[in-house]
């Protein structure tokens, strides 16, 4: 009987004895974060050498999608089989992760070659959709947390690329799309036993790619250069789409606290909405604070730190954005700072009264 089957059997018996209820959560491999980082980085390095191995083995592989695709698919199948037997065996785990990444790289290369059309009419959106779909399938099949995280990064990058590859209106909606996808992943993972282990790697990947894109990608594609007309309107709409994220998140997390009644939950949501509205032209702050809130409420200190650092780094970057004047930016930042201090003061007074 496999490790998974034994765990399922044990869960079944515990449920029959009324000790637990609901579905069994996925098995967590309980790898500490520093080990996961070590394994992840070395798997990427090994994957690059494996990729070089295939390139050296077959001449001109770039131009042969009919060869690259089946080889990539074979690598993915091998990785899936290895991941099924790898539990706790470090060498097989790393080998499987590297093989999976190489498989996805080869398939992505084949899609890229198929997507290229003479005359510049390329189908990059479809190419990235294919890459993201393969990564999503590997995510579902390979249960190892680090493997899932790396596949999640590919899914998140594919989502971002689908929005950005063509220079049209969709590029403005890349950040709201990632932000809502990240929120949905955390929300579902906190609410369902079965998803409690399966979804956090994707949520982490979406969050990190989202923070990265609020800092660098937006600047690289010129979202923040002074624009007029339709582009400016689209940017306003995209920023507005991020605004409900923080109040909704505050309401959801407040609902999980048994100490807060309906009035307290509403109060938390209104305060969060006010903060998000004050900084609605700086969506990176709302996103960072949302991550920090989720990290705090779900007892994930690393997420809390990443969220706070992300918000701080975005504020630093925001200073150089050109879509608002310095005076206007300073005004909004001062207003947000005063509002936060006022809420804290009011909260402390309220708490003291309650205690008395």
């Amino acid at each position: 009987m496999s490790h998974d089957a034994r765990a399922q059997d044990l869960w079944q018996r515990l449920r029959q004895a009324d000790v637990v209820s609901g579905h069994a959560p996925d098995i967590d491999d309980e790898t500490p974060w520093y080990l996961a980082a070590l394994i992840g980085v070395s798997a990427w390095i090994a994957a690059l050498f494996f990729f070089g191995f295939f390139l050296a083995l077959f001449d001109d592989l770039y131009r042969q999608p009919a060869l690259a695709f089946p080889m990539g698919a074979a690598c993915c199948v091998v990785a899936w089989l290895l991941l099924r037997v790898a539990r706790g065996r470090d060498f097989i785990e790393q080998f499987a992760i590297a093989t999976s990444l190489v498989g996805q790289l080869l398939i992505g290369m084949a899609f890229g070659e198929w997507g290229e059309r003479p005359g510049g009419d390329d189908h990059w959106r479809l190419v990235w959709l294919g890459v993201g779909s393969v990564a999503a399938i590997m995510y579902a099949l390979g249960r190892l947390t680090m493997h899932r995280f790396l596949c999640g990064v590919i899914v998140a990058v594919a989502l971002l690329a689908i929005c950005l590859v063509d220079d049209d209106a969709t590029k403005h909606f890349a950040i709201p799309l990632l932000a809502w996808a990240m929120f949905a992943a955390w929300w579902r993972s906190a609410g369902h036993d079965r998803l409690a282990v399966a979804l956090p790697p994707l949520a982490w990947a979406l969050g990190l790619v989202l923070l990265f894109s609020t800092w660098f990608v937006a600047r690289a594609i010129g979202l923040f250069s002074g624009r007029a007309g339709q582009a400016r309107d689209l940017l306003l709409i995209a920023d507005a789409l991020v605004v409900p994220l923080l109040p909704l998140c505050a309401y959801w997390l407040a609902s999980r606290q048994s100490a807060l009644d309906a009035r307290g939950r509403l109060f938390a949501m209104v305060i969060a909405a006010g903060f998000a509205l004050l900084l609605w032209r700086a969506p990176g702050v709302s996103i960072g604070v949302t991550l920090a809130l989720i990290g705090f409420a779900l007892y994930r200190p690393a997420l809390l730190a990443v969220g706070l650092l992300g918000a701080a780094a975005y504020l630093f970057d925001y200073y150089y954005h050109l879509q608002l004047t310095l005076l206007e930016k300073s005004g909004w930042l001062v207003a947000a700072g005063v509002a936060v201090l006022a809420v804290r003061w009011a909260h402390l007074r309220f708490a003291r009264k309650e205690a008395a």
């Binding site: 070395s42 470090d90 790393q94």
Partner: protein, 149 residues
């Protein structure tokens, strides 16, 4: 043009090593310095810069003394001994292990890859990286189990 020269990487890495030493000494006296986050951030800065300096030294063919490699080696031995024996900190040891993987793989690649790579050489390098990663993970996992039991 590179972002930083080898000398700049080395001097900044050594400065971070001094700061880490000062942080650790201060931690014995003042409780404010006894936290783990500051230590780990300083260790990350020190290790990353000295690893980059060593890798730059390895790939820079015309350098004879390999000061970067020696500095990195000395730092790895001293920091590894301290964070293993005196103040055990597994994340810092994981950073040191990643540094060893990066430098050893760079040295192997410099030795093996000559511009006309065959598939065997690339495969051997991939296996070498996985073997090093596995070894490091095995040791760190055992140390972690020893800490919790």
């Amino acid at each position: 043009m590179p972002l930083a020269t080898n000398e700049e990487l080395l001097s900044t890495g050594l400065l971070n090593a001094l700061l880490l030493l000062a942080w650790e000494l201060a931690g014995t006296r003042w409780a404010e310095f006894s936290g783990r986050v500051g230590r780990r951030l300083l260790a990350l800065a020190m290790i990353a810069l000295l690893v980059f300096a060593a890798m730059d030294d390895i790939f820079g063919r015309d350098r004879g003394l390999h000061v970067g490699v020696w500095c990195w080696l000395a730092m790895t031995l001293v920091a590894g001994g301290c964070f293993l024996r005196l103040r055990r900190d597994l994340p810092v040891l994981a950073m040191l292990a990643l540094g060893i993987i990066a430098v050893v793989t760079s040295a192997l690649a410099e030795f093996v890859l000559t511009g006309r790579e065959t598939a065997f050489e690339m495969f051997a390098l991939a296996v070498a990286v996985i073997a090093q990663g596995t070894g490091a993970a095995f040791v760190l996992r055992r140390l972690a189990r020893g800490e919790t039991s």
